[in-house]
Symmetry: C2
Amino acid sequence: MTHPVLDRDLLHRLMDGISAVAATPEGGVNRPALTHEDAQARDWLRQRFDDLGMRTVIDPIGNMFGILDLAGADAPCVMTGSHLDSQPFGGRFDGAYGVVAGLAAAAAIREAHTKGVFKATANLVVCNWTNEEGARFQPALIGSSVYEGSLPLADAYALMDASGITVRSALEAIGYIGDGVAPRPKAYVEMHVECAPELEHSGKTIGPFAGYWGATKIRAAVRGMQAHTGPTPMERRRDALLGAAYVMTELRALVGRAADVLHTSVGRIEAYPNSPNCVCSDVIMFVELRARNQVVLEWAEREFRGIMERAPAKAQTTGEILHIEYRRAGDFDKGLLDLVERVSAEQGFETMRLHTIAGHDGIRMANVCPSIVVAIKSIGGICHHSTEYSEPHDVEAGANVLLGCLRSLLLT
Amino acid sequence: MTHPVLDRDLLHRLMDGISAVAATPEGGVNRPALTHEDAQARDWLRQRFDDLGMRTVIDPIGNMFGILDLAGADAPCVMTGSHLDSQPFGGRFDGAYGVVAGLAAAAAIREAHTKGVFKATANLVVCNWTNEEGARFQPALIGSSVYEGSLPLADAYALMDASGITVRSALEAIGYIGDGVAPRPKAYVEMHVECAPELEHSGKTIGPFAGYWGATKIRAAVRGMQAHTGPTPMERRRDALLGAAYVMTELRALVGRAADVLHTSVGRIEAYPNSPNCVCSDVIMFVELRARNQVVLEWAEREFRGIMERAPAKAQTTGEILHIEYRRAGDFDKGLLDLVERVSAEQGFETMRLHTIAGHDGIRMANVCPSIVVAIKSIGGICHHSTEYSEPHDVEAGANVLLGCLRSLLLT
């Protein structure tokens, strides 16, 4: 029996094809979730599913599944994939690579199956999850969270972007609100770019994530009072933006005081009324705390709550926690971790166990079935930026390891 | 000869009338320049001009002039007025009071003129300047700056709001791009609410501004690099929002170090890409420095430039000054100051000489003709807020003083 063989040219053609959808002059892509550009990427994927003889299923939250029937309608399935949405002016590989690697692996498996040299006992599914990024709509991982069951569909539909457009109306506008029944796999493997510099520093090729950091995402407000930036005496001002500035500088200082590695950020800020001549009355900050160590993560949250009590007061403003979303640190499936390492070794690739700090749909899938996310190198660790890059040989290595893993999972 | 007499009921009816245009539930108004709501206020004013038998002239930047012909087409004119645009969710009195007081004074003068008991040697003009506030479009004082000649019309037309809508297209959209020739007065008197607590603290009624503070308005950027808020190592981040936070806290600290009174603010902030999961690449701050003392103002600018060199570096980002607009401190016309004090005394109102910290169209008019801005009490000094308030008896006092000044100016 012959192994399915990856078509490298197809892999790179697919990568180039999706990279051309909403390409930016800087070399990245701009496909925030459920925009016209995301719809173009989805249309592109649906065409690829057709090309590969895969049946397309779209579920009510817009998750897309391409099903390659290898073992009959009643057989179990194995799933791979990632997401095609991007950050605003984000990179080409983040998400898209996992979908493309899945498509290339599916093409190889299909060819071997058609030739009769590969007899699978399960079907193969390649998926594209809705709004992994959480850029346009918060939270991130909406599609896989609905699929997993942790986010009710009605709640997901009601989420709004900054313009007040709901997920539901955005899905309807692009025609990707489906009524398909999503397949439930027996195993999930997701390829992704690392988004960090560890593989590059170590010189290793394949980085299976043994686990994932916890993340606490907080929407926090500073409340002051709108006033004239001219005559209002300085000592009477209650400047919410100044209060937020004190919060942000103190938040950053937590990093140096934490007992173990801690990442902090404020990526989004909304200021009201945001007029040059008005002292801001209200500022909303989107805060993230991330740590591998759950104790550190909980310490950081307590410290942040303290900052929200103290720091705004320096500007005669008050702090308010509006919303907290917790993602506890955890581990991926040990059996799949072993499988990735074994397949990589068979193919001559050195591996390095990593922990992912970024959120991935595979984290949600870990609650559905044995699941893992596997990284290839990100040059310079650059991610969420148009210059995000992974080299062709790494792109191939990852797809080959995925193919080897899927082959094994489809046979057992 | 009988003096023109103010109709108090009319004054309050006018104040109530304009307050109802784009009224907010909190008691303020929401009429940013050249919006649909501003157009409603303009339509309201045009109707009032018609009611009072005033000829309406609209110039190419949308400034509105209502001309009361008292002395024939070739006679000089005296001008009063202010602006009907507001801050987002701003107060009822800021701007509107000056227009309303002008209308009420015009009504009294017209009645006396019609009765033949008041023989003016000049005509009276009540005006409404375009975009005094500078909330939607920067800079502030667009209409009076074009009128004065310091801002070329073409440059003003090209200014854009945050959505990319130009002043020209916004003017066209509301139908207020005129071709009228604006009258040029021999004197300009503008009534305004104080927007500060000095009159209230002193117990005086009328506050003629002897002069105006200087203001230096700076658009400043912090440049970093877009990155993932998760895996990007903290020590490699170049977080433009964090850099901006350091700038804002250091800017505030200048106030305590200045040799004389200094006001500082960042009223508007724009962060890019402003996604919760992205380290910000770029942040733009709208900074204001204001001082009566020109030496302090220039010291503050030098200090701010130093902050922009140092503070962003703490976040591995860089500072950049994009644009600076200077308004030097200056004095209003001494003759008009004496007139306001004399008329107030005749009417039994105590006066207090003030300096305005806020910008006013009267500052631009000071370069056109003898000009002054006169304040009435702002309760609590509150301004640019929906609870901005001036008491009825102060509203009347100001209109009476305006009427007395106009009477004198129209006779000489």
